[in-house]
Symmetry: C2
Subunit: 252 residues, 2 copies
Amino acid sequence: MASVTQPVSRRERLRLATIDEIKQTARDQLDEHGAAGVSLRAVARAMGLTPSALYRYFTSRDELIAALAADGFASLADTLEEAFDLAPRDNHARRWLEVTRAYRRWSHEHVTEYMLIFGTLGLGYTPPASQPCDGTERSVAVLFRCMAEAIDAGLIDPSRFAAELTPALRAELEEWRADTRNTIPPEGLAACLIVWTQLHGFLSLELFGHLPPAIRDVGALFDQQMLDVLLRCGYQGPVDFVPGRQEHGRPE
Amino acid sequence: MASVTQPVSRRERLRLATIDEIKQTARDQLDEHGAAGVSLRAVARAMGLTPSALYRYFTSRDELIAALAADGFASLADTLEEAFDLAPRDNHARRWLEVTRAYRRWSHEHVTEYMLIFGTLGLGYTPPASQPCDGTERSVAVLFRCMAEAIDAGLIDPSRFAAELTPALRAELEEWRADTRNTIPPEGLAACLIVWTQLHGFLSLELFGHLPPAIRDVGALFDQQMLDVLLRCGYQGPVDFVPGRQEHGRPE
DNA sequence: CGTTCTAGAGAACAGTGTTCGCGTACACCG
DNA sequence: CGGTGTACGCGAACACTGTTCTCTAGAACG
């Protein structure tokens, strides 16, 4: 959270402060009027500045919004890491549920930022190459750590995926493993991708309003899917369904 | 595709023609510059019209874009229904694969429209209530029909979901079944929601560039996940993995 | 034929992102 | 401490945008 050292002069510190103020003001507008409603002029107005003054800190509006998205992803990663550390280490299903619930909670508390990250960015066009903005990798890393430790503990046996993977796909998963320097076998990575897909798919449908309106207890459905996907990945430890009350029904 | 009858006067026909021309011009801009890059003035310019003239046909820019989204959804529904009808009726896994592949193909051929539908709509803010714009229901209906027929054929036994559903959740699923007038039991609807989540989650991650770059053969991963989710829902019929070449690796 | 109404033009307003040139006050260095 | 450079902010300007008026030519209808 806090910066590591203070290698900055007073000048630099003020500069970083104004950058933060700009981003915070923009975030407020983001929450109020959505991604398209973030206006440089409005930000400047709220700060008592001239529009052109903002160009000392961001070269364009798109860069500002990209910075917001990067910050959002980092915030999500922080939340996930915290949830991971707080969750019980011995109950892998429970920890998985806690982490994914934290994910969902974050997405509800930062709807616009979530849409900024996972929806079209509100920018002119979508950035084709996913810049691995650090937050991305950290976030998925937490999810994958849940899987990896469950595998290591012998509670998940992803060997059933072996038959489903083509040789080429297996090779690419191996390559990916080498890139990210983790120790999960290709079958485990396939499992990781499945749970990550399921998690993201659910929240995406929920936040964009595509879940059936009859479902009011969305949290219960979420828990069901998150625990079910774990079971379907070969998890063999104890699972307590209907665990604890869910705080969030529907957003708003 | 074609209109049912011709209850329109000549005047009305011309009007519909210009509406179509406006939408097509806007679609071109959508593909080129993204959702945020659709400009009423540019559309008017391309058509040799005055900006204000467009307001005879759409009350605002947002309404134009909403119309584009609705059309997109309808187009997706058409594609899915066609794929469903063309697929073999006896091999449910195969049909499921064909339908989901058609879904993916459509999303690749209509990236911007997909993002318009499932990402933030490029509008000022996201419409909180998902207006059931007909295309939505038709699209998911096709997916659910795949499941329903597999259940009816005795090839899917979703009873294992029974233990995962809370009583409240089960009641809401019953309610939803009554709303949509289908015959799928609550456990089957839970299965439907899982496959729908998995499918949408995958495409959303892929299109927004969040899949690991090492995966080049995205189509193979897609097939694997789509068949796997079917198995995880209790499908017990024959499944042939590595079925046929996939035409699409990565978009672009 | 006369009336009605519609498609479109054209101007105007408020707002936007972005660029450029000009001061000025502050941080740094000799 | 005094001079100097530079980062900062201002203000005007340009080229856009969505949207709303008023007004007119012309087609459709009775």
